[in-house]
Assembly symmetry: C2
Homo-oligomer: 412 residues x 2
């Protein structure tokens, strides 16, 4: 694997949402070489947007490394991109340090409800689950929906589902042989402690807000009272109310478990050059039950598209960050489209014109991002925690890093 680094920090014109994207571009001018088969694969994973504390940096790197290795093992055994990306996601979900699967944020009722989705670049098929409880690895249900969808119509010509939510999604998973996970297993000591702290903060914030509203009402009624008095003496008067404090409500911001991490994701290129992307998330801390975020939504959480008539490059994207903003921009798909025309790193690529090349990028407007990547030629995964440079303000600056690697085919 040959590799060259790219790193830049741009200042955004306006405060942006927390957005993290991982992108892979496959440039494959020699189709004959591909057909000769036994291509080696590539995987890039991320542990979620947010802040990665120095104290837990080792853990984040470890889980990224393990996720990469799981995917590469699958690829080396001849698995398709979708199965390899699922293997990587299962590893990320199983870590108690990520906000996905095990150790996910708890919702308002103290329950875990997960979102996950997967996209196959070859068939453009998609599978997703939303607000799913009681399943240890939500991504495996999403992948199973994708697989079942590829088998064609159900009995009596029914169209197979690609997006299931809640209790119905749980039932479908169990009916398809995915084991149910007993309640309570998926919450960790950390996530339960964070839930309790968050609940206290919420109660406190609501108490403060109620007090302020009452204070405001009392002042308004005093004001009204003083006006009446003035009217009694025949003069109009402005009551000198002073600051009601309405604009000074102190927000007791909630902490998300595992620091402030969000959706985890991975992108994979398999031996045949097919791409796949997948994401998984426990959602926001204390979210309303039934809330579905970007990780479950088509075009928002992940996108994968093999090279075709309208797409010169194969691309796969996974996103992370503040769900509502990612949904608005349909970010994953937008990034994929942008990559089709982007030639920022053309100079690097031209030196390796006739080879099978993967260009990989990650970018974040959050304080930090932990990624791991590995090609099948590598003995082990590389991991990296990317941080905004000193002085850069989260949400106002974007850091873009990445590299290019040439994947050697065993035969070449």
């Amino acid at each position: 694997m040959m590799e060259k680094g790219i790193s830049s920090v741009e200042v955004l014109p306006s405060k942006s949402s927390q957005v993290t994207a991982v992108k892979v571009v496959v440039k494959e001018p020699e189709t004959k070489q591909t057909q000769r088969g036994k291509r080696v694969g590539f995987v890039l994973v991320h542990a979620g947007a947010g802040y990665h504390s120095e104290s837990k940096a080792k853990e984040y790197k470890h889980v990224c490394k393990r996720a990469c290795q799981k995917a590469i093992e699958k690829l080396q055994a001849g698995a398709l991109a979708t199965d390899a990306v699922t293997a990587a996601l299962i590893e990320l979900e199983d870590s108690p340090f990520t906000n996905a699967g095990m150790g996910s944020n708890l919702n308002l009722l103290g329950e875990i409800e997960c979102d996950a989705s997967i996209m196959d670049g070859k068939s453009l098929n998609f599978g997703a689950v939303g607000a799913l409880s009681g399943i240890k690895n939500p991504v495996s249900v999403a992948n199973r929906l994708l697989c079942e969808g590829q088998k064609g119509k159900l009995s009596a010509g029914r169209i197979p589902p690609c997006f299931l939510v809640g209790e119905g999604a749980f039932r479908w998973a169990v009916d398809h042989g995915i084991p149910a996970c007993p309640p309570g297993i998926m919450a960790t000591r950390f996530s339960l402690a964070a839930f309790k702290r968050n609940k206290r903060k919420l109660e406190l914030a609501e108490k403060v807000e109620t007090d302020l509203i009452q204070l405001k009402k009392r002042r308004q009624s005093n004001e009204k009272g003083s006006r009446v008095m003035c009217r009694m003496c025949g003069r109009r008067s402005k009551a000198s109310g002073g600051n009601t404090g309405g604009g000074q409500i102190k927000l007791y911001s909630l902490e998300n478990d595992s620091g402030t991490l969000d959706t985890v994701g991975a992108v994979v290129v398999d031996q045949e050059g097919n791409v796949a992307a997948a994401v998984s998330s426990g959602g926001l801390a204390l979210k309303h039950p039934g809330r579905v975020g970007q990780a479950a939504l088509y075009g928002c959480g992940c996108w994968a598209e093999n090279t075709g008539a309208h797409t010169p490059y194969s691309t796969a994207v996974s996103t992370s960050g503040c769900g509502e903003h990612l949904v608005r921009t349909i970010l994953a798909r937008e990034c994929s489209c942008a990559l089709q025309t982007e030639d920022a790193h053309q100079a690097l690529l031209e030196t390796m014109q006739n080879k099978f090349i993967v260009e990989f990028l990650w970018s974040h407007t959050t304080e930090s991002m932990c990624v791991g990547y590995m090609s099948a030629q590598d003995g082990k995964a590389k991991t990296h925690i990317s941080r905004l440079p000193p002085g850069a303000v989260a949400g106002q600056s974007v850091a873009i890093e990445g590299g290019v690697c040439r994947l050697e085919s065993p035969e070449s």
Copy 2:
């Protein structure tokens, strides 16, 4: 209201999915006129893609007419586009003849689970519900989510939800004062009868498939037996199995209730020129519980965008048809983008350069489509059932119809 008709039928290069789209374009070169206020509004509704039987044509036209009138009444009372479009949708949902709200298709368990979404072109805010049971008007929950979202953050800095599903969505609705609908009220005599017929068809289809698989197995084991015999006599032989019938499974296609209708929708332009779009659907007949279709998904079911820096025209779109295909294309948003550059009807528009103009279109690849439209100057709504011309094959041809109307301002 001045109006000119546009009608065309194009033959598609390949068999396409059932797609129905309604589009509104507002061309508004004179912003001063708009600011003078008291603009009159416009609404365009549709009763769902599919086949509209001649026998029920009157009913479809009636419900479209009532939906238009409800929206116009709201607009005349000064309501915003989002509230007017919600009023139209409630009327469509309340009709037992549409596959939305009352009389929706029943799922595999005989329950009603609805999807609905709404988009505000001014704020680009979005609200949606998926797999929602026990609420008579799902669109009112979607609209409430949109409204609550526009109020800003919740206590302790929490981001308000814009997409809720299942039980959590139901709880949220009830907590926000939307009345629960007792189970059984929303199913109609027609929808229950169709459910029973569909269940019988499904059982029959599954029995036929099981029989065929057993027949195939028996033949394979006979074949194996004959091969063993041949081996015993030392010769390799192909068993003359004949046709196993595997490719000849007769599909017992399900009927969707209310004929084969799908998602209903509406687009609205309010007095200030703001646009809004909304859709609502009961989903596929005998769908898996928890299945969420395009009507709930951002960019797929509806799209609305006021004129802005990057959008010369205000556009609003609602789609209907086979959910999985609409989702794949993120059709509503794509149509909206296409309308920004489309100048097919430029000649018509140029004759009315300096006026407030609405261009409206509908298109379908299904056999028929029932639409209604009305401007605030009109005494009553116009309705129309558009059908593919004789000889045109559903899924292979697309019919495009529409018109242009100049909305007169009372002051001008």
